[in-house]
Symmetry: C2
């Protein structure tokens, strides 16, 4: 297993982790001056500063991306909504290309309207079929750009609102269906917060293999967890066996970044510098 | 599929649903006078009134059990704790026998201490091994009493604190290991709140079959869900396709009760009679 204690070369910060503290240009500078050489930004953060400005700043600071957040949310209430979702995913891919991202992360969506508390229907099988079709359609553009799609299985507690793909096995079944040649154009983002509980995690990481393992996200699961969305823990503060899971990833051939992604009202209330410094310390010691 | 609109013969009330409103003897009377002929009580509720008194009241009111809650919580910090857990499960089985329960529901436990926010370790694989051994040891007493054990897979958001068995597939793998003959002594409790999201739900219900399908619990998943434990919805108020899932259960041979189990700060704050009347109405129309 790679030694993370000596340098920060494999650390990436998902910029949602300090999104309440700073705009993206400040985040990039704060990361760069600490020796953090990779980030995973969100589209709204990029848009707030400007795509071209961010692309220039990434180059000037020598900052790479570990992924771009995000595409997905394919299911919609009607055909017009489905087309709009496909168009939006094409634009996300184009932005990811401009930023030289290694993959576009897909939060695939689920019951349309559920995120606003008004699900248009309850047919999760229909949502899953629409996700399959949406990824298939988006995959063509992704191949043409050489920009892989990374399906992120989300925790089952997000199954109604954010993603109807909820296990690594389910995501990999879809990869096998849509990219049987394992071309590298389609794979998964393994976020331990979402999948740590899965009794088939080790088996499915091994199944995924190098071609399908496109991203690796870390944080921690707190006991108790007080909120379904914004109570993620800092690595080392919870119950996820981070190093065991990283060993599985690397045994399967993964050689990319460990991306820290913490949605947390607690950490959003801390000074941004403290959050980044803590991420660095925990990356060295417990990831 | 059975017609639930005409009579209440297949309705059971898990007594946690109105535990804040009434003690168990009152719950039994309130159910009986509404024509509800089955309940699933919790051990603490039984103990508060007295085991023999409850057994007599069940007989005098013609009330049957759809299950007894609960055994489990096998993993412990040390060998003394493990032995205590096994002893407690024997007592739970004896109580279930006294009450003529059709099964003892197992919430199997997970990381010891996590429920109190102080996990003794983070090794969920160890917890899973201890659960397997604990069920194996308990199964002997269960067989001698003719009292089946029903493993309840809990939602992955409860994986750290309450149950490290989190999918129906995982529970059935354990059934196959410990009771390969499908003797009926070991099976599962399918609580749709915990498993509704599972892309393999239909497949695994079919796999379980009549011998393994020992209980069927219903409520609903709300969007948004505001609490990981006590924000379950009344049937019809959320996104679970209850009738579709019941059809899968019945196609697999299940012919038992639909047990309403709602942990909800909202419903606990309503008058108990209103809660039971609403359960009856929803049982007739959406379950």
């Amino acid at each position: 297993m790679r030694d993370f204690s000596q340098d920060l070369s494999q650390l990436s910060i998902n910029t949602a982790t300090v999104r309440k503290q700073w705009p993206l240009d400040r985040i990039i500078d704060e990361c760069a001056r600490r020796g953090i050489r990779a980030i995973a930004p969100w589209r709204d953060q990029v848009a707030a500063v400007g795509l071209d400005a961010i692309a220039r700043q990434l180059r000037s600071t020598g900052t790479r991306l570990s992924g771009y957040c995000r595409g997905g949310f394919f299911p919609a209430k009607d055909a017009t909504g489905l087309r709009a979702a496909l168009d939006d995913n094409r634009r996300a891919l184009d932005e990811a290309k401009t930023l030289d991202a290694p993959c576009l992360v897909l939060v695939v969506g689920s019951l349309p309207g559920a995120l606003d508390g008004q699900p248009a229907h309850r047919d999760i099988a229909r949502a899953r079929a629409e996700v399959r079709d949406g990824i298939a359609a988006t995959l063509e553009h992704a191949r043409s750009l050489g920009l892989p799609l990374a399906i992120e299985p989300l925790h089952p507690m997000q199954a109604a609102e954010r993603a109807c793909i909820n296990t690594l096995e389910q995501a990999l079944d879809l990869c096998d269906e849509l990219d049987p040649a394992r071309s590298g154009a389609l794979g998964v983002a393994v976020d331990l917060y979402h999948v740590w509980w899965d009794p088939k995690l080790a088996q499915q990481i091994a199944r995924a293999g190098r071609e399908r393992l496109l991203a690796f996200h870390v944080c921690d699961w707190l006991t108790p967890t007080r909120d379904l969305l914004n109570d993620r823990g800092m690595m080392g503060d919870g119950v996820i066996e981070l190093q065991r899971a990283r060993a599985w990833m690397e045994a399967a051939g993964y050689a990319g970044h460990a991306e820290v992604e913490i949605f947390s009202d607690h950490w959003w209330a801390q000074p941004g510098g403290l959050v980044l410094d803590t991420c660095i310390e925990r990356y060295r010691t417990v990831v």
